[in-house]
Symmetry: C2
Subunit: 351 residues, 2 copies
């Protein structure tokens, strides 16, 4: 048989952070695509639309009127999936029918007063302000709740119901599923190897170089060895940092810079406002915040669905839902493509 | 506080089969939807299109010409994600960089010579033929491979690149991720409780009745207590059956009937050809097929994405990808709606 080539020969890879396998079948990119083509995203969104509930001065569904905010704006989600006071379902009567109480709060954070910008089109100080709110909301909600999930759904393809630049914050009384998996893996790695899983992982990627996308004084961006989405990335601080509020001012400035670079590359890849879901993971908070969480390393995951062009996405369907995630290019190929892209946004170049 | 009401108060539920939690926030259905609306599916597909590679007599991408088949047609996928002879990546040099060999075959099974039918519009004997091929392909590929994944992606929304009624079969040299999770859970349940998890689960649902959708002499269809997708269902034989080939002729006939009823209800829900991914799970096969797999119970999962109408789907995005699955109506509400739907297909009623 021929010598193994990751880009030619399918194989499976292990995700040690979430304890999952992915099937890598890069030769599959050769097949023609006849499936669904997504509608092209609107490139022209009005800067201000008084009917858009996220705009400054707009009236929201519950009748509240937004302030004429000039920077960021954080408020309670009008249709929260988690509320602070839901009663408990009570004890379960059978091991196959287990339900538990869930309490929490859901907030929305507008990044900017204008609807026609996105993070990569914002200035470094504007992005820095968003980072500061991420840190402070983690601190505030983390005082009461064990998990504060910051996430951004960007683009209609990602179920985002509003083009205004914003993210969400859902804090919960329970450790969500994926947080539990990451807790278990990082805990086990630390007790076996005596250091945090993601600290060693970041160091290895810096040595191996093939999956790096961006590096800066304080941060790394890479396509993880076990990436599932075509252009998935992992954003990691170089220093051992457990949670967003621990970031120093220098680390925050540098984060604003590297986020702008990464998101500019994403937009440049297919010359479109790149859709994705992203989110931050850090050590649990709440009443147990003081416990030893040294096995945790703060990180952000970016999960973008596009595969071939601005309108052809990867579908995680049949085999992926029933058996195992599958990807159509290697993480190394994805990293190489992202690395090669310019750091100036295509919309600014054209002007 | 008010007494707990599943349809009003968010809570979390446990999936004992795949060891996962879901957040149930049914009060969320009250929010208005402003997000992406899917294109309406083409209701008129030509019965025969010589350029469609799945049609009888058509020429496929690799130059092969399909026979003028009159029933089902099983052939090798021209762009397989799994090939029988890929070399091995060799030993891993670090615990965070683990890769393994993956070998297998991918087949496509056309259900019918016509492109303008779907399973619920096919006759019972025609569906029965599909079931027989599912059983025989499991037997054939299962002789060599430990896992044979039969799955159907239906509808453009589910990444299905061809409207011709068909499913896929991917057999692999490894136990895929979700198969491993189900193996672990069913194994543990059996050793703790002395009977298969899904046998007890089916019995309990027959007693509790609130999540049943359809029952027949040999089969049950229910919305599982831990369902993630809005109208997700689980199809279970009443008898303890480990794999598709073990089904008796009477069980196969009855399966054809209950599948037709379920898929007709699905199409009737929003009066559209209901998109979904579905697939079969049974005991592992291959060289270990003779081991004790009595903890396994054969079952099919149906994962349909539609939530509110033929064009408004549930997005499993930000919170779901980063933290935990979340659903917007209770499994009991979904079961009630499905139960109430007629068993005559809306397209046949209109004629
Ligand atoms: O093989 P198909 O139908 O072209 O492809 C579809 O199903 C596959 C298996 O679930 C997925 O990997 C693809 O992303 C999807 O588009
Ligand atoms: O709250 P939104 O943005 O309207 O809703 C979106 O994000 C949520 C959190 O990931 C998902 O549960 C919804 O399915 C999705 O449409």
């Amino acid at each position: 048989t021929a010598p193994f080539l990751a880009s030619e020969h399918q194989h499976i890879r292990y995700n040690p952070l979430q304890d999952e396998w992915v099937l890598v079948s890069a030769h599959r990119m050769k097949r023609p695509w006849q499936g669904q083509v997504e509608p092209s995203p609107l490139e022209t969104v009005p800067r201000h639309d008084p009917r858009n509930p996220l705009c400054p001065g707009a009236t929201r569904a519950n009748g509240e009127v937004n302030p004429h905010y000039e920077g960021t704006f954080l408020f309670d989600n009008d249709f929260p999936a988690l509320q602070p006071d839901a009663p408990s379902p009570g004890p379960s009567d059978h091991p196959l029918f287990q339900a538990k109480a869930a309490r929490g709060v859901c907030k929305v954070l507008c990044f900017h007063p204008w609807s026609d910008v996105t993070l990569p089109l914002m200035s470094i100080p504007e992005i820095r302000t968003v980072i500061d709110v991420w840190a402070s909301v983690t601190e505030d909600l983390g005082a009461q709740y064990p998990w504060v999930q910051i996430f951004e759904n960007k683009g209609a393809m990602m179920g985002c119901s509003n083009p205004h630049p914003h993210c969400q914050v859902w804090a919960s009384s329970f450790l969500p599923d994926i947080a539990q998996r990451e807790e278990k893996s990082q805990q086990a790695y630390q007790s076996q190897h005596g250091e945090p899983l993601l600290m060693e992982y970041g160091r290895q990627e810096l040595l191996r170089k093939e999956r790096l996308v961006l590096t800066s004084e304080h941060w790394l961006v890479l396509v993880p060895f076990w990436a599932v989405w075509p252009f998935q990335t992992l954003l990691l601080p170089r220093r051992h940092v457990r949670r967003l509020p621990e970031l120093t001012p220098a680390e925050r400035d540098d984060l604003a810079l590297i986020m702008k670079k990464l998101l500019t590359k994403y937009d440049n890849l297919f010359e479109t406002s790149f859709p994705y879901s992203m989110g931050w993971h850090g050590a649990p908070t709440g009443s147990e915040a003081g416990a030893n969480w040294d096995h945790w390393q703060l990180h952000a995951h970016y999960y973008p669905p596009l595969l071939r062009s601005a309108t052809v996405r990867k579908f995680m369907v049949g085999y992926e839902m029933l058996a195992q995630a599958q990807r159509d290019l290697t993480p190394e190929q994805a990293a190489e493509r992202l690395r090669a892209l310019p750091e100036v946004h295509y919309r600014l170049r054209q002007k």
